[in-house]
Symmetry: C2
Subunit: 761 residues, 2 copies
């Protein structure tokens, strides 16, 4: 059989790191400020661990386990791990943090470490067994597991270019077996490069174990770490041998269950190992990675690139012989793990030779990032003081002790997550409303799949129940025609009027002459002349006291420059409010005011603007719930009209408006008035939504006095329009008033069966 290396080269099959599938499982302890374990249960806002696909607990309630889906590219590390961290941080107590190191901080007495309060009795029983056999403290080590799966196209191409193995499944298993054997043989290099558990608190060690005399590279990967008893020996000679040895260990009682086998590499794909004999190995689980404390999410993109390269290298390499296997590997790995971090690796030569092969492969793959990863590893072999373990050592010494070092980082990472609570890191390229929706879905344990990022298209599922969502609020709960009704202002107005709601009077015109001939209808009325499709106020003229014939004619001509249809509408005085209607109720009413500052008798307008812009809720280009106020031409003109300049010092309490329009996008303020608004208007908004057959809509009403009820004699409102894509983020983080989490309302509408979980009840 041709070597895989040769096959790849001959057939231009590229070991593309970008197309292999990666899933990450990351453990981490919830701790209090002093580094001791949190005493609270798993946060209820994180839904039920009986089905949560992403945020679980491992051995203990305090041991968070964040699980990304299996994904190609860098999505598991760049999207999912950041997002799951954000959701977790946002769901935790103010006074709790996530411990950033593999070896725990301060541990209580063995008996005071709580076992996870899970629903299934068997899950608890298994943990009680582990506590008895290994001790609870050992279970408090945290690490990262990486699920690695080759690109199927590569496996197929390799399969088609050989004739030795006739079954595709057998071939695939053979490739994974080779990966596993070589992985066990060479994993010492990963312990060298990624080892990040150089020490532990004294009370971590069992009484029968000597506390190490010096820092190590990775206690967790040494014999001190999380390993099975010595009698647990599993063969990787073949898949058959692997399955047989595990089954034997379980039936002899050496292992309580298959999952108790703590190998650094597990073969995966079926629930029971024996089923792999038929179905083949689908992927492998790599379990030997310590938490990297120097990065917010415990592993970096470059770390992951290297791991993928390493996996490809393991099949690219020839095998020495099948006889020489994990024994050498285990030994080298232990020796590496207990080396002093700042010492040169005793296997440096072998390491560099491996990296030389990897370099060849990187060149063949054509990816720049692959070559950078190899260079990074080479550098670490030349400079052991740059390894993670050496840096942690330095860090501990700089901070004084292990707890101080860990808590400093823990606080930093939590603060990063809390800074912009309206963002979901990893998904910031999406619109804010979609970010919030995904956040809340992840929190409740709804499975999320972004099926088109550019198009804000998300698939949500819970069990067999699937819902698709676009732009955060476009769903199966609205009809096609309802969205089209709202997209057409004239149609919306006609339908609302026919259903008895109060809309502005007026007419629609197709020609200048037609409109001008109707002048007599409007001559004594307050009116707005506007193009049918308005865009940011262009082409609009407002006459608050009734126009003259000339002014009217002029306004009509201006409007016709923008559109082939022109509307003349009654001008309505009063304040405009946005009613967000979802699922037959109004969970939020918003008032938007134009960009403004309030004088303090000392600061200039410019200074007041700068100060207001400091608010972390204000950003630019729609990346935050509010926009920074810009002192542009329009604002300066507006100031001038009021007798101000940017250098004026407004008197204390004087409100200075910088804009006429109240859009949030031009620096306006958002003020929640849900509780102040008289219920009669909310009921009307719900009925309007019914009339246009909408389940989700943003209805704009002009209301002169929000405290007075709407009555038949005095309706007290005029409806301006209904929006088919109403923004949700502006209600979620308001300038003044109460934040309203509308994305949860959307989720409850879509998944009524989960409403308690979504509400955090």
């Amino acid at each position: 059989m041709q070597t895989i290396k040769q096959m790849m080269k001959d057939h231009s099959i590229k070991p593309i790191w970008n197309s292999s599938v990666i899933g990450i499982e990351k453990e981490g302890l919830r701790v209090k400020k002093d580094g001791t374990l949190a005493t609270t249960p798993h946060p209820t806002t994180l839904g039920s661990r009986s089905f949560h696909p992403y945020i679980q607990t491992d051995f203990s309630d305090v041991q968070l386990e964040l699980i990304t889906p299996p994904l190609t590219g860098a999505k598991s590390i760049n999207q999912w791990l950041p997002a799951l961290h954000d959701v977790t941080y946002h769901s935790m107590n103010d006074e709790e943090w996530i411990w950033p190191l593999s070896m725990p901080g301060s541990l209580p007495e063995e008996k005071d470490i709580p076992i996870a309060r899970l629903e299934k009795r068997a899950d608890v029983a298994y943990r009680e067994y582990l506590a008895k056999v290994y001790g609870k403290k050992k279970q408090m080590q945290s690490g990262i597991h990486i699920n690695f799966e080759f690109d199927t196209a590569i496996l197929n191409a390799l399969y088609e270019n050989q004739t030795d193995i006739t079954s595709k499944e057998d071939f695939q298993s053979a490739v994974y077996m080779k990966l596993a054997r070589n992985f066990l043989r060479y994993r010492w290099m990963l312990s060298y490069l990624f080892g990040a558990s150089p020490t532990a608190m004294e009370n971590f060690y069992p009484s029968d174990v000597a506390v190490p005399e010096h820092y190590a590279r990775s206690l967790r990967n040494s014999h001190l770490g999380y390993t099975n008893d010595e009698e647990v020996i599993v063969s990787y000679e073949s898949l058959e041998a692997y399955v047989e040895s595990i089954q034997t260990l379980v039936s002899s009682g050496a292992l309580s269950e298959e999952r108790e086998f703590y190998s650094p590499i597990r073969l995966r794909g079926t629930k029971q190992v024996k089923d792999m004999l038929n179905k083949g190995i689908a992927y492998v689980e790599l379990r030997n990675f310590d938490l990297n404390p120097f990065t917010s999410f415990s592993i970096t993109e470059q770390d992951l690139v290297f791991v993928k390269m390493f996996c490809y290298l393991m099949i690219w390499l020839d095998e020495e012989t099948t006889a020489v296997t994990s024994k050498t590997g285990d030994e080298k790995n232990h020796l590496t793990s207990v080396e002093h971090p700042k010492e040169v690796s005793q296997f440096k030569e072998e390491g560099l030779a491996l990296l030389e092969e990897m370099q060849q492969m990187a060149v063949h793959s054509g990816y720049e990032k692959a070559e950078a990863a190899v260079a990074w590893a080479k550098e670490l072999f030349e400079h052991p003081e740059k390894t993670l373990s050496a840096q942690i050592m330095d860090g501990i010494e700089a901070e004084g002790d292990y707890i101080a070092f860990g808590m400093k980082l823990a606080q930093q990472y939590k603060q990063e997550a809390m800074e912009k609570p309206y963002q979901l890191r990893g998904f910031t390229s999406l619109e804010m409303s979609t970010q919030l929706l995904i956040h809340d879905a992840l929190q409740s344990g709804i499975t999320v799949d972004v099926i088109d990022e550019h198009d804000q298209f998300v698939k949500l599922s819970y069990g067999n129940h699937v819902e698709y969502v676009k732009n955060g609020n476009m769903t199966s709960k609205d009809t096609y025609i309802s969205s089209l009704i709202m997209a057409n202002k004239t149609v919306t107005k006609k339908i609302l009027a026919e259903n008895g709601f109060h809309v502005p009077g007026g007419g629609e015109y197709q020609t200048v002459e037609e409109a001008q001939n109707d002048f007599w209808r409007y001559q004594h009325k307050a009116i707005v002349v506007k193009p049918k499709s308005t865009n940011y106020g262009i082409g609009i003229s407002i006459f608050k006291n009734g126009p003259t014939q000339e002014d009217f004619n002029q306004a009509v001509k201006i409007a016709f420059k923008e559109d082939s249809s022109v509307l003349v509408e009654e001008y309505i005085a009063g304040t405009e409010y946005r009613f967000f209607v979802v699922n037959d109720h109004v969970p939020a009413v918003l008032l938007r005011t134009p960009a403004n500052v309030i004088g303090n008798g000392a600061a200039t307008v410019k200074e007041l603007v700068d100060e207001k812009n400091q608010d972390p809720l204000r950003g630019t280009h729609h990346r935050a719930p509010l926009e920074k106020i810009v002192l542009g031409e329009i604002e300066q003109l507006m100031l001038k009209e009021q007798g101000y300049s940017t250098e004026s010092i407004p008197e204390k309490g004087t409100v200075v408006y910088l804009r006429e329009n109240s859009n949030i996008s031009t620096g306006g303020d958002s003020i929640d008035v849900t509780d102040e608004m008289h219920d009669s208007y909310k009921e009307l908004a719900v009925k309007m939504a019914e009339a246009i057959e909408a389940n989700v809509t943003g209805i704009d009403l002009i209301i002169p006095d929000l405290t007075q009820p709407s009555t038949i004699q005095n309706p007290g409102y005029t409806v301006i329009e209904a929006n088919f894509n109403p923004a949700m983020h502006m209600h979620a983080y308001v300038y003044k008033g109460k934040n309203r989490r509308l994305t949860k309302e959307i989720l409850i509408m879509l998944f009524p069966e989960l409403s308690k979980t979504i509400k955090g009840e």
Copy 2:
């Protein structure tokens, strides 16, 4: 009180013909080729007369009554009357026509004229009473009733500019009463201008009446016409007097019911006249118009402009005195009606004086069409030989007899309606699918309201059940998200694939490098490289035998010029079929072939194209179900590649393709294969629609052999895309095969309660 004329002038209130509301009711007899009454019942395809809002019968089953809704502008005449005629013609027997004159053609014996077979016993009883009192033959006269309503804004403006009458309803009634009195006073002018019943067949006249000695202007408006007994005298002095006199006549038995009062002008607005005392008069019904046989729809737009002007003139004029009322008017009207058509009017002087006033009003209104209408009327006073009645006289003499004259026009008008059956006259500015939908809705008696013509937005209602439709197929029966899924090709493909359907393999790329690095995946495969958002095939490269690296790179670069995302997709060989799915079944499957001609061994390609283009189904700019083939650059190139020019003479039976693409829009042929297609594919299409949650969709499948079933081992299809706005007209009128009326399927989906009516069962 200031005169209305003065008020209009002083306050620039314009008597705008365009804003008054007009409804038209037009009667017409169904006849056979020889002008005798049809013997068939009212067509069942026209639904039930128990609720049909538009197409009814009057006295007899053979007397069609087409009823337009009340509308502003010229919509009743330019949209609705043409459309209702088209629907009626398309629903009638091949061997029946609509008699175009007010006076019937050949009538049978009195006893053989059938009374309308209506569901309500009272309706039949009323007609039996009329038959007894007036005779059935008299009921066979047909005419046009015009419902006229002033623009409310004008009435309001007039009301606000006077102080004499304090109640708005009373003021409005006073204005309509003035209109009615002056109308009765001056209506002789309408008989002069619009009289179009100069004669009748001899057996029309009752035995006790002398047959007139010469042609008249309007027998129908003379004492010979459809009038009440002389004792029936109703006062128009005031609304109170009007109501009282009608009530007295009914209680005395002089009238059987209020509706038996055959005045040329009726006051309308409430079911019972007495209720008008409270609610006021809402509109008037003008009943004195004969059918104009020289126009397809029995009345022209200019006729209607004149009528509206005339109504405004009646309130603009001062009244002589209230005492001088209808008596003078009745007399003048009768005298005018029986004048010889070619004689100068004996009231010419009064007529011209009225037109002079009307001219003043026309100038004041600012509408060119109004002035043209006045000029037309003046011309007729100077040239009586140009009046309708005179022209009918000439027509009868030219054709030999009354029946021949009438049938010639009847045939012409029916032929016009049958020429382009895919059009709905009056609504041809709408898309074809919307025209067909409106056609079928009108036919079934569903109320239609085009709420936005430019946006193809239609409101359909039946009783309280309202449905909105855009583009003929976008409805409340589809979800918002389903349309968005279909609008995104990648999302559609992902969902279909996840649901187990066979989609083309491939990948999506955001950069040139990414795509080129994947070349090895495609090197031996038939593929298509295309921009994600394809537009008429721009930027697409097809490699049927697998590309070279250079060609692939080139193709990727070309595609990236068109879009920021590029798809590389498996190329699928086979024939593409469009499956139209609606409401869980597939009523139509279409094959589209590229523009082509078939040689006959004699004609050149150009001649063959010209001949094929003669098909009335072929039009231009999407105004017909098929497009004319154009011999442009692309077609000539395609010919050249096959060794032809436009002057070549292809052998008999040779198919010469003029295009590579099979779009109908570039001259392709549509071939219905619904019955030929194996059912298994139709079942699959329905399941695909379910997967993307669509109720209406056009699914494109590539199928190598439509006669072989799809099986699990051999699916036999690949799904290419799902369209959210699938064309319906192309199935309705196909080049070859059976026409499929999908618009009826849409209506059945929307109104299941009407499915029998819609199916014509």
